[in-house]
Symmetry: C2
Subunit: 339 residues, 2 copies
């Protein structure tokens, strides 16, 4: 298996990407190809004392200032565009990039293409909750969704949770403002009916509507929502965790006796903080693309690049793209097919 | 000033409501009238050793099983319907209820009526963040919103933050998936323009788009959003706080040395937990109704009923209903006015 890495993507590129790659090659035993400014990347590899990782030269870099919707087309020789092109040509099994989310999504859609029949790819992070984590699909790729998109997200999330997260019978919930079927707006009502039908036919394990409080409660494995709401949920989670960690720090530094008590708890608290870190779980899968593409966090360090590569390996091994392809007929609405 | 209390609303009614009322009468020096099953309420008052609070008999109770949209009309002699009728008739200055949110919202809209020109009332809780708290408007009253609703929410939230939360120049942000003006869907783009214009005219202090991470960051005082997204944000916040408190408890009970260290921190941690408790701030104001109506949490205890009464008193004293009425012309869209 060969994982293609966008060596120039992210705030700490190429150093962190190279470090993560070196570690992944060693610990996971996969082949890696690093795409980026050859000289720089080779310098980093040398600093790591590792000369046997393949490097493919790409002369441009997509920055946060580039327009995401045209970046990969305009900068054809950027590390991201070249990486995606290589994946599309079969010169590797998956792409991992910590670069611009929008550019990666557009580039993957245009170059690698969506799975036939899938209307939109989704950004689907796994939140660090419960035994297996909780998949949130979509979390920002599609701010406006049709009922068919959401139906497809439910199926794709279910396959992912089963094959990659290790849930036996993933509990799929529709994010809403209450658990009763009549909650929410017209869109939620229509999607509820579609998911209920898919559940009754035994294709997914639909548990009904779920609320914001349920995401971290352990009662749901896949949370289906539009990209706008999902993004707000994800970022609120990040914000609240940060806020609470700050408040906790305030308690620990309040007095000498508190400082001493906190010192005793330090390691276990660090462990707890780590267990809530989205970066530990890996990157965010672009689900619905015809080959595995993983977006690592923009601020990725070695550890998160490594986690994203491990996730890419699991994605390749999972066979979920075949699952989606085989079930595509159940995932389409007849009324929209005839359009 | 006289506050009308729905004595039968909430999980712990009438006991907690009566206790909160007795405390409020004593500490805030306001008149209270308790509406509910007279015999029961008087029994509770007797148990509290307090006989001088007015009780108005109401023979019915709205339960969680009643349909919110018809409850106050069908149960005309329910404690909630009678309380709202009294407010409408001028027999008190504000209503506080811990009963069904939907029934209270519908009842207030039909009986007390909206402020003239206001399209929809909003549920606007104050999240316990930053110096003054952060107002989230709307958080569930309107799952589907027009741009005019959101414009009105921005103005109303700004008045509330200034007069009740004590922010000098409340920073109003539009909840979105990124801070750039082009983020989000069509609705966000249109509302952004409207709020920008209101900001340029000096009517509100519009700081642009804000994300989920910003809500608890201290950079915004009023977060404007539709009721669907706001509800998800609010409940996610609750869920994450609960999850983290659980994880923290796990750390504290992990070993004997941890237990001993946690004992030292106990009081300060309790204080911290309290500072994050939505119930401490008060109830949720129904902003846009022509007289103050406060929804207390369904699981309210004495302390949260007291906080909700204190909030109602501040609401009455604030004069924000006059502020809204005086500014109503700026809060309406001409295109919709002609409809």
């Amino acid at each position: 298996m060969k994982i293609i890495l966008d060596a120039m993507g992210g705030d700490n590129a190429p150093e962190s990407v190279v470090k993560g790659a070196v570690r992944a090659k060693k610990e996971l035993g996969v082949d890696i190809v690093l795409v980026g400014l050859e000289e720089k990347v080779k310098e980093c590899l040398k600093a790591e004392g590792c000369g046997d990782i393949e490097v493919v030269n790409a002369t441009e870099i997509i920055t946060m200032n580039d327009d995401p919707s045209t970046a990969t087309r305009r900068k054809k020789d950027s590390s991201m565009a070249v990486a995606l092109k290589m994946l599309s040509n079969g010169e590797g099994d998956a792409v991992v990039s910590a670069g611009s989310t929008g550019a990666l999504l557009t580039g993957a859609t245009l170059t690698v293409k969506r799975i036939k029949g899938i209307r939109r790819a989704a950004m689907a992070p796994v939140l660090p909750a419960g035994e297996h984590g909780v998949m949130l699909i979509d979390c920002g790729a599609n701010v406006e969704c049709t009922e068919e998109y959401l139906l497809q997200f439910a199926y794709m999330g279910s396959f992912y949770a089963k094959k990659i997260m290790g849930c036996d019978n993933p509990r799929v919930g529709l994010l809403n403002v209450g658990t009763e079927p009549e909650k929410g707006g017209e869109m939620q009502h229509r999607v509820f009916e579609l998911l209920k039908e898919a559940g009754e036919k035994g294709r997914i394990n639909f548990i009904g509507n779920v609320e914001g409080t349920d995401v971290f409660s352990g009662r749901v494995d896949v949370v289906v929502t539009d990209g706008f709401t999902g993004n707000v949920l994800l970022k609120t989670t990040e914000g609240v965790i940060k806020y609470m960690m700050g408040a906790l720090k305030g308690v620990f530094y309040k007095s000498t006796k508190n400082k001493l008590a906190a010192a005793v708890l330090k390691n276990d608290l660090k462990e707890m903080k780590k267990s809530m870190d989205v970066n530990e779980v890996g990157g965010t899968a672009l689900v619905g693309i015809s080959k595995p593409v993983i977006k690592a966090h923009g601020s990725s360090d070695e550890r998160s690049i490594f986690a994203a590569i491990r996730q890419a390996v699991n994605f390749v091994n999972s066979g979920i793209i075949a699952d989606i392809t085989e079930n595509i007929d159940h995932m389409r609405l007849k009324s929209e097919e005839t359009l």
